[in-house]
Assembly symmetry: C2
Homo-oligomer: 353 residues x 2
């Protein structure tokens, strides 16, 4: 366990009575490409009936912790600081922690998981249970209140589908980023819209309302200037921010914008169906009930052109048992509930044996 490393991150622990009030806590982290949230939750009695609202001792927010985006050192620093801040704010410390669930984007391979676990082991006392997951798993848990069953579809700047069976098998689809074909993501939608403007301008595609709408919002005077704008800073979130323009144009009846959204719906539905199919989530006859947690700006209700609703329509043609859930708590809480569920399961197993 680290003491006094990384400057004064953990200094606050020396200035308090260790484990003063005896409250044991869980840390749930949601680390994304835009921001990182850490929730400090008191351990609730093990029960399948959860209190409403869920108890929270403290919440801390920091910047990006995707190691693919900001590099490993910066990502770790951010994660360590945001955990220290949440513990400090809740008047607690590392000895009071029973479990940590770290759900971060960019965890795509068991080696990513192992690397982060090793580093967490260096920070926390040995009795602390540690879990590392892709951030999609926390998003699923935020909809199912900690239970790993069903599928989650995230469509924000990026997109991914992730699913679990009750017996612990898991599968994912998409989530490989813009270069590797995530056309359904916010980035994918916006890049297709920018491409449509370029094609209309150079004669390869039909004229579209997207041209005037996008140029006006970016304060550019000609589609030629889009090239410079795009490559000046190809940050995914900056490009994805154009999604509302595409939705407005589709709502106003522009066929090019409409087609882009239809492609996006198709891609998003395909990624969910691939997961459902591989895991057999809908049972043998394809009609079993399964939860589909839906998260992210692209899926949020639009005025008339509702991407999320169209995605569900498309999935339910093949899988009528799909039950969409829009989570009421944030993914960091999902991560905390996940850790709490693991602890409860472990206690059950001990009791049974």
């Amino acid at each position: 366990m680290k003491r006094y490393r990384n400057g004064d991150i953990w200094d606050f622990e020396n200035e308090m009575s260790v484990n003063g009030d005896g409250v044991e806590v869980i840390l749930g982290l949601d680390g994304g490409t835009t921001s990182t949230v850490c929730i400090c939750m008191p351990i609730m009695p093990f029960s399948h009936n959860l209190p409403d609202p869920l108890p929270v001792l403290a919440r801390a927010v920091a910047g990006c912790s995707n190691h693919n985006s900001v590099g490993e050192t910066a990502a770790r620093q951010t994660l360590e600081e945001v955990m220290a801040e949440a513990l400090s704010k809740s008047g607690s410390n590392r000895f009071a922690v029973k479990a940590v669930c770290l759900a971060v984007s960019g965890v795509n391979h068991p080696t990513d998981q192992e690397r982060i676990l090793n580093w967490l082991r260096d920070i926390f006392p040995t009795h602390v249970k540690l879990f590392v997951q892709n951030d999609a798993v926390a998003a699923l848990a935020s909809g199912t209140l900690g239970k790993l069953h069903g599928c989650v579809l995230i469509a924000g700047t990026g997109t991914i589908s992730y699913g679990f069976t009750e017996d612990g098998r898991e599968a994912r689809a998409a989530g490989a980023g813009p270069i590797l074909g995530d056309l359904g993501s916010g980035y994918g939608i916006a890049a297709q819209a920018l491409t449509a403007v370029v094609k209309a301008h150079d004669g390869r595609g039909p004229l579209t309302m997207l041209t005037s709408s996008i140029l006006s919002i970016l304060e550019l005077s000609s589609p030629d200037e889009l090239i410079g704008w795009t490559y000046a800073d190809p940050s995914w979130a900056r490009i994805a921010a154009l999604v509302p323009v595409v939705v407005s144009c589709a709502e106003a009846g522009d066929p090019v914008a409409n087609k882009i959204l239809l492609v996006s719906v198709q891609e998003l539905a395909e990624s969910v169906k691939a997961v459902v199919q591989r895991l057999g989530l809908s049972g043998e006859d394809g009609k079993n009930y399964f939860p589909l947690v839906m998260v992210g700006g692209v899926l949020e209700a639009n005025k008339r052109w509702d991407i999320g609703k169209e995605v569900i329509n498309c999935i339910s043609k093949d899988y009528p048992g799909v039950r969409p859930i829009r989570p009421k708590v944030e993914p960091a809480m999902g991560a905390a509930l996940l850790a709490w569920n693991f602890l409860m399961k472990e206690a059950d197993e001990k009791f049974d044996s």
Copy 2:
């Protein structure tokens, strides 16, 4: 005109007899994303019959000079150094230069052109004629030996179509880079292949030979590792280097690879047709002869699956007058010939008036 700035770039001029042998020269530059080439050519007598081979006093090579890729300062430094090296090697200096044609990738807008012209004016004596073009224009001139008429299709790491009419109108299509839809480029082909591997792996797409071929050449053990590989260094050329794998798989009968190449052919042909259509290059009945200069690794003859040949087949269905040209000289020579042609035209006009 600069003296003694930028360290010792132009120092060699002080150590020689100025304009010793009286040979007037032209500089032709081809500045790409991978390398920059400068040709120093003696002024040939004005005539429409060119000597074969074309005379070259010196040739110098340097790294990337695309300002979008390496930044403006580095791009300028590279261009200035490569010009100084070509002049120094040819025993000449800036006073002997009659004209410079700088053809660089990343020139997409009149403001790009003006910025570079201003900077060239600072380097050369006032009598020197200066021309700044997109590098596609030099590629066209390398096929037409300096005449700006017809269309050029470049398909290497990136792709662009560029055309000119005899009365000086010009048009381009594509060339907006990978984010803005250049599916026909080497990068576009390779990114589609990587996407196909990810989709086959997560159940969204059919199995393909591309999986084993790409994993083996990249020495990876699972498609999950492709995500890390891709974003570790998303340099366009590194991704485009996978094109030969896609061609091999298509030649071996893989339907997924085959479809990717067909999409690429379609996209490349569309970009040429858009230029031909806008400029009316094929005349009113659509049957007039026009040259199509074809440049870049993607268009070079493959064993059985010949992308370049398929692109021509596709174009000639609409425009039977298309006459493909594979240039025998390099684009830097095209740039030099372009400058020489401008000078000849100017001399003609003076003579006429």
